[in-house]
Amino acid sequence: MRSRFFINSAAPSSLLSLVLTISSLPLMHAFSPGLRASDWPHFRGPASSGASMDASIPKDPKVAWSASLPGRGLSSPIVIGEKVFVTASAGPDQQQLQVLCFNAKTGESLWKRQLQATGRTMTYAKTSVAANTPCSDGKHVFALWSSNDLAAFDLDGNLAWLRGLTADYSNASNSLGMASSPVVVGKTVVVVIENDSESYSLGIDAATGKNLWKLERPKAANWSSPVPLPVKNGAPPAVLLQSKNGLLAVNAATGEKLWEHEAAASTMSSSIALSDIVYAPVSGITALSTSNSAEAPQTLWNSRQINPSTISPLLLDEKLFSVNGAGILTMAETKSGDVKWKLRLTGPFSGSPVGAGARIAIINEKALLQIVDSTAPEGALIGQIQLPLNESTKELTLCTPALAGNRIFVRTDSTLWCLSE
């Protein structure tokens, strides 16, 4: 493993001093001002860590409402205020791309928009074209599909802009399907379109849909999602990209490379970046210190005992949780990586765990939602609910839940579910 720090050779030493000075200031994510703490604005929640500081998870969740979806998908719902948004794809070749908006309290359908795929819609049978979770800056919803169509709507369903990223870059696709979820960092929508052929990541102006930057990336399939990096006061918003070649921190507004950590990172499970530590799916999990903005990150620890497999980890109350495909939930100390307990859940899982307070929620492929008390000495399963699936369509649940208020939102291929106490 090797870490590199990029700096403009013309940068004055005073800038370095400034960076070092502010490195001790409080850290925060580059959230858009339009977002509230109660929102779940993108894949794995406000900080892309799987956790919500505002929500609570019911111990014994019950169905509050459900809504049939006109298309299939495994993208997660997102929640902005009292609206929940989810994407879907329909038609024989999943050419019909849908964005659906519901009242989060009642499940009432508020609006539906449908466009036609301009890129390739072939995917592995288990996944679908609606695989990427949408994201929001609190004013808009940015929806991306496996066809690399990217659409921005305001919260009332008015189209703000469109992009066809395979129409723009004709060899950008993956015949197994794309799945990386976009994220808004500052005023930039960061999109990972990395594949075996025309592989790149984009910073797109959230206001206009135009490129702010385009980075050529390793020619290799990559389903991991970008995560916002906590920024120190005054520093520009930054985003963390990962690939089979390692981690790359990028200025979200300009695409300028900030630092690089060369190591074989997962191309499926995504990182967590909180405070000044990155927990990356590298050889199990590797913790990297980014406390000194003027230097490349330093490895704090590595643990192969925490193996997130294809699933992304959860950081909750300074504990790291990981579920493998077989259903073993592992809790590790964030300071050392030491594993404290393992709890067998009912798998198999494709979705990632989410958490709030002391509780963790995770849903398996057969739509069994399980609630875990993360503070029990060995972890404890304290509640569960089986959601119905359509056996005739071999329906599965591959999504990661969303949390808002005291509600859990999950989607199966056919239905959006709201669960509460």
Binding site: R113, G157, L159, R163, A167, D168, N171, L176, I204, K219
Partner: protein, 374 residues
């Protein structure tokens, strides 16, 4: 397009709902968006203004659909989609008859007809369903699909000769792979096997040559002799020895040409396949390819597309390559590269290719096309 011309194009009677005031200007802005978001700001403003016009703007939406690029079509589609959504919620009347007429007129643009059908389905699903049953010979594949589904359902309810007759009728019009398989399987059970290779128009008779080197996937970009000349009598320096063209015919129902058969199961190798296609007329067409190896396709010496992805999946019509066929002999060259992977799912070194129109109807070579001699 001026309003009278627009109305003529849409085959409309005088309809106040359809009369556009400044809709055309706004809609043209949507149709003009370019690559990489060029024109997005103007389009965003125009979209809101056009949607505010309500159903009055639908005529302009349809007339402009298909005049720009596919992303521009989505701007227009979402305008139409939102206009109908707002009208349904507010109780505003919608031009059902005009939408239906627009769909029926096959001279209208394909994308625009699909949009008109989708808007009709959004606003009056019963009316759309009735219309759909009449589109059994529609040149637009997605529009035809619904009508064919009704034929298959009807055939499945029959027995014996009546069923066979119904399925044979469906076979005449079916284009999609899944529906064709349903029809073919039923006819096989009824003692009337289907020649799928000919039905789809797969090209089965080829000459192949290889292996050339593809170590470290370098062969994809390397220009080997078949890319410079096609002389089926010549031999060339191959990966390890001299290689020469050899005839190879695919017996696969779906026309898969498996290089592992004539060349043996190799890795890190590149091969070529060449064939000719006699076209009865000069025309627009599509070469539709399925391939899970890196590939390039040339038509009459012109590279149509190249893709360097390995073993991520293959399906029929995976890639639709628009092309222009000459009248008479057309030469097709396919380059297909096998990489270094050794997993069991990386054995395949093959492709399937067919010639068809944009609706998926096979274009048969002139010698086999019963219409060619007319």
């Amino acid at each position: 397009m001026k309003l009278p011309v627009l109305l003529t194009t849409l085959s409309l009677a005088a309809a106040p709902l359809w009369a556009a005031n400044n809709a055309e200007t706004l809609i043209q802005t949507l149709a003009s968006v370019g690559r990489e978001g060029d024109g997005n700001e103007q389009a965003s403003a125009a979209w809101k203004a056009a949607v505010a016009l309500g159903p009055n703007a639908l005529g302009a939406v349809l007339s402009q659909t298909g005049t720009g690029n596919p992303v521009a079509d989505n701007w227009l589609r979402l305008a139409g989609n939102t206009i109908v959504d707002h009208a349904l919620k507010s109780g505003k009347p919608l031009p059902f008859g005009e939408l239906e007429s627009f769909v029926k007129k096959t001279a209208n643009n394909e994308a625009a007809r699909m949009l008109a059908f989708d808007l009709l389905q959004q606003s009056d699903s019963v009316r759309a369903e009735t219309l759909q049953r009449t589109l059994v010979n529609d040149p637009v594949q997605p529009l035809r699909r619904g009508a064919v589904a009704h034929l298959i359902t009807a055939a499945a309810a029959l027995q014996g000769d009546a069923a066979k007759k119904a399925y044979l009728g469906a076979l005449e019009v079916v284009r999609d792979e899944d529906q064709t398989k349903t029809v073919s399987d039923a006819l096989n059970k009824l003692g009337s096997p289907v020649q799928l290779q000919q039905h789809f128009g797969f090209l089965a008779k080829w000459h192949v040559i290889g292996p050339f080197d593809n170590t470290d996937r370098s062969g994809f970009e390397k220009v080997y002799p078949p890319e410079k000349e096609i002389d089926l009598t010549k031999s060339y320096d191959g990966k390890e020895k001299q290689v020469q063209w050899q005839p190879f015919e695919s017996k696969d129902d779906y026309g898969k040409l498996d290089f592992n058969k004539p060349l043996t199961a190799l890795k890190q190798s590149t091969a070529y396949a060449h064939t000719t296609f006699e076209s009865a007329t000069e025309r627009e067409a599509e070469l539709r390819l399925g391939c899970k190896n890196a590939w390039k396709v040339w038509l009459n010496g012109k590279l149509l597309f190249a893709r360097d992805e390995y073993h991520r999946g293959q399906r029929m019509d995976q890639y639709k390559l628009k092309c222009h066929l000459r009248k008479g002999r057309n030469e097709i060259l396919v380059k297909c590269c096998q990489n270094e992977q050794t997993e069991s799912w990386t054995v395949e070194w093959e492709f399937q290719l067919r010639v068809c129109d944009s609706g998926g109807t096979a274009i048969l070579p002139a010698k086999l096309d019963p219409n060619a001699s007319r």
